[in-house]
Amino acid sequence: MNPGGLDYNYEDWTTIMNMTAKTSVLNLTQEEFIYPGNRACSGCGLSILYRIGLKALGRDCIFVVPPSCLTVMQGLFPIAATQMPVLNCTFASTAAIATGVRAAMKRLGRDTQVVAWAGDGGTSDIGIQALSGALERVEDIIYICYDNEAYMNTGVQRSGTTPQGTLTTTTPLSGKAEASKNIPAIIAAHNPAYLATCSASYPLDFHDKLLKAKEIKGLKYLHIQTPCPPGWGCEERMTVEIGRTAVETGLFDLYEIEDGQMKLSGPSQKLLGKTSLRPVREYLEMQVRFKALSDEQINVMQAEIDQKWAGYRDTF
């Protein structure tokens, strides 16, 4: 049984049972939770996962959203592209606002899932304090960070997760000097109830991780990579291809952390069996934002990926 068309390799039978219950294009609900037509750019990686994510989350949810591309995508007053209740909040306060909504749900005796959905800037930079607080208090919320690796809403400025060497409007000419921060690792250090990484190129993986997150108490953090054609400098049709290449080159890994245990997910786990992965150069050359990278920088990047995967092969 291989519903996602992916070559899973789990030993544990219960896991396989859960796997078989996994969603495929055949049984993904046809119900839509957003209206056709929204303000996202064509080819937006976020819009793919937003649509599919809502299918997993269902109607009994309240969304908390800070300023970001998602704010605009969800619609401008008095028209909404989303069918969900949304509380738009200030940039730094997403996780704290979600805490307040969750506290209210508790008082009202409702199980309604509170979902904070923020960009990488809203999560890794200005919003990290509130998120750290919510993690430490073990708030019962789902927090989704969509990582397009820059402040896109304000016109592609560098963020904490922008990779080293990337061209943005605030790191012009030679690209960002500093390395990006590893937000999932920072979150993992808080010991959340559940942590997963996902990619716009594997929407059903995201879908099923959300299904799982919904069943877990505590703070569930999902970090999703969402390619962004205008910000990354690529054609709209390349979104899924780029996201997949990020995974297949071993640069962006799909994994889950539960009870402190990290486990690679399908598409990344599959790579463990391979002796060599696609070179990262393939990923970099697909995007204008990496034009300033020197061969030397690319070699360093490749070496880091190789080292990371050597470690994975030892661990898993």
Partner: protein, 403 residues
């Protein structure tokens, strides 16, 4: 009505919040507000108060939790002081713009730099234009009563309310006060119902990007743009003066206290000289007034109980028969003059009688305000007949400088 309790102002505030049945409390400690936070967490942990206590990691988040809870239809409360209030500033505007009925106690304290933990009003004054209603309490009883009434006001007007009281002078001193019985409060303050509360059964998108111009929704109904929403906030804030008066009357019926929700004049009826002040300073002036009266001077003190919305016509009318008005305050608009003074001056402008105005800055960062120096400055102002140029007369005078 319970027997008189002797407790600190901070405990008085916490008891009022308990009686108001606030359901989500989020606060971050800062002197001199801290004991409110501690008391509420103690009441909740011991089971005496049925609420969620959220130990947030900052004031920005404290207000965020209140915004989240109120948007979901649950009554929140927070308290802060000084830099804590400023750290919330973005959230204050957000709460007001979102029209959320949040109540917050602000235990007034000077702002850093340099650090000061002592009292003045600059924290509240600096947030004057955030769209919050600002109430000033003069004593412990008013802390209790104003806080209870503030919940009603916020929920009727959909405008957040700040109940200010002086750090240390009120927060940490022990004074007698009474608290209403829970049934009395319940009769006065119904359960919070919010028709736009976040609810998956009636999904609404709150605080979305709003365009400069009005726009039709999917049902072709014209909806106001940003400026229209701001206009409504302003207009409804103006109406809040009347609502506050009505609430005070209701409260009086239930609890037997009140009667001076906007201004609280003391011996002002025949006064030629009227002192205007906010907070505990206004009460301190009562002794000064009594002594000056003994000296044969017709002096009164008028306490301003609500600073925003500014009750301009009520104040201006109350000052029509005064010859001199002395505004004493603990906060200013740097580079100009006392904020309250400027407001009173402009309130008087449309009226036929414009008394001579004097502005005194006192007590910044907890600088002592000896009653004797208040007595002397008022007396001097009353008896002086030296002619000052209009420009000189309009400058604030600083009392108690140690330069």
């Amino acid at each position: 009505m319970s027997d008189a309790i002797i407790e600190s102002g901070n405990v008085a505030a916490a008891m009022a919040v308990q009686l108001a049945r606030a359901e989500v409390i989020a606060a971050y400690p800062i002197t001199p507000q801290t004991p409110v936070t501690e008391k509420l967490s103690e009441l909740i942990t011991s089971g005496e108060m049925d609420a969620e206590y959220v130990a947030v990691e900052s004031e920005h988040s404290a207000m965020a939790v209140c915004i989240g809870a109120a948007s979901a239809g649950v009554r929140p409360f927070t308290a802060t002081s000084s830099n804590g209030l400023l750290y919330m500033s973005e959230q204050l505007h957000w709460a007001a713009g979102a029209r959320l009925p949040i109540v917050m106690c602000v235990v007034n304290r000077g702002i850093g730099a340099p650090w000061s933990v002592w009292n003045d009003h600059q924290d509240a004054i600096s947030q004057r234009d955030a769209g919050w209603i600002q109430i000033f309490a003069k004593d412990h009883q008013e802390i209790v009563d104003s806080t209870l009434k503030a919940f009603r006001l916020a929920e009727l007007t959909h405008i957040p309310v700040m109940v200010n009281y002086d750090g240390y002078y009120l927060s940490h001193t022990y004074m007698p006060f009474e608290t209403p019985e829970p049934e009395q409060v319940d009769a006065f303050l119904p359960t919070f119902e919010y028709k736009h509360a976040l609810n998956p059964e009636r999904p609404e998108s709150l605080n979305t990007v709003t365009l400069p111009d009005a726009r039709r929704d999917v049902k072709s109904i014209q909806r106001g743009g940003y400026m229209d929403l701001r206009h409504n906030l302003h207009e409804e804030m103006r109406l809040a003066i009347k609502v506050w008066q009505e609430i005070d009357q209701e409260f009086q019926k239930v609890c037997g206290r009140g009667g001076a929700p906007i201004i609280d004049p003391y011996r002002c009826d025949d006064a030629d000289f009227v002192v205007v002040a906010m907070g505990s300073l206004a009460n301190q002036f009562r002794d000064v007034v009594d002594r000056l009266r003994d000296d044969g001077l017709k002096v009164g003190v008028l306490a301003l109980q609500i600073y925003r919305p500014f009750p301009n016509s009520i104040i201006a009318e109350a000052l029509q028969s005064a010859k001199h008005v002395m505004v004493y305050e603990k906060g200013l608009s740097y580079g100009y003059q006392g904020a309250l003074y400027g407001d009173i001056k402009s309130a008087l402008y449309p009226y036929p009688s414009r008394p001579c105005l004097h502005n005194f800055i006192v007590g910044l960062g907890g600088r002592g305000i000896p009653t004797e120096s208040l007595f002397q400055t008022v007396k001097t102002a009353c008896v002086q007949d030296e002619q000052m140029s209009p420009a000189q007369a309009d400058e604030p005078r600083w009392i108690g400088l140690q330069l």
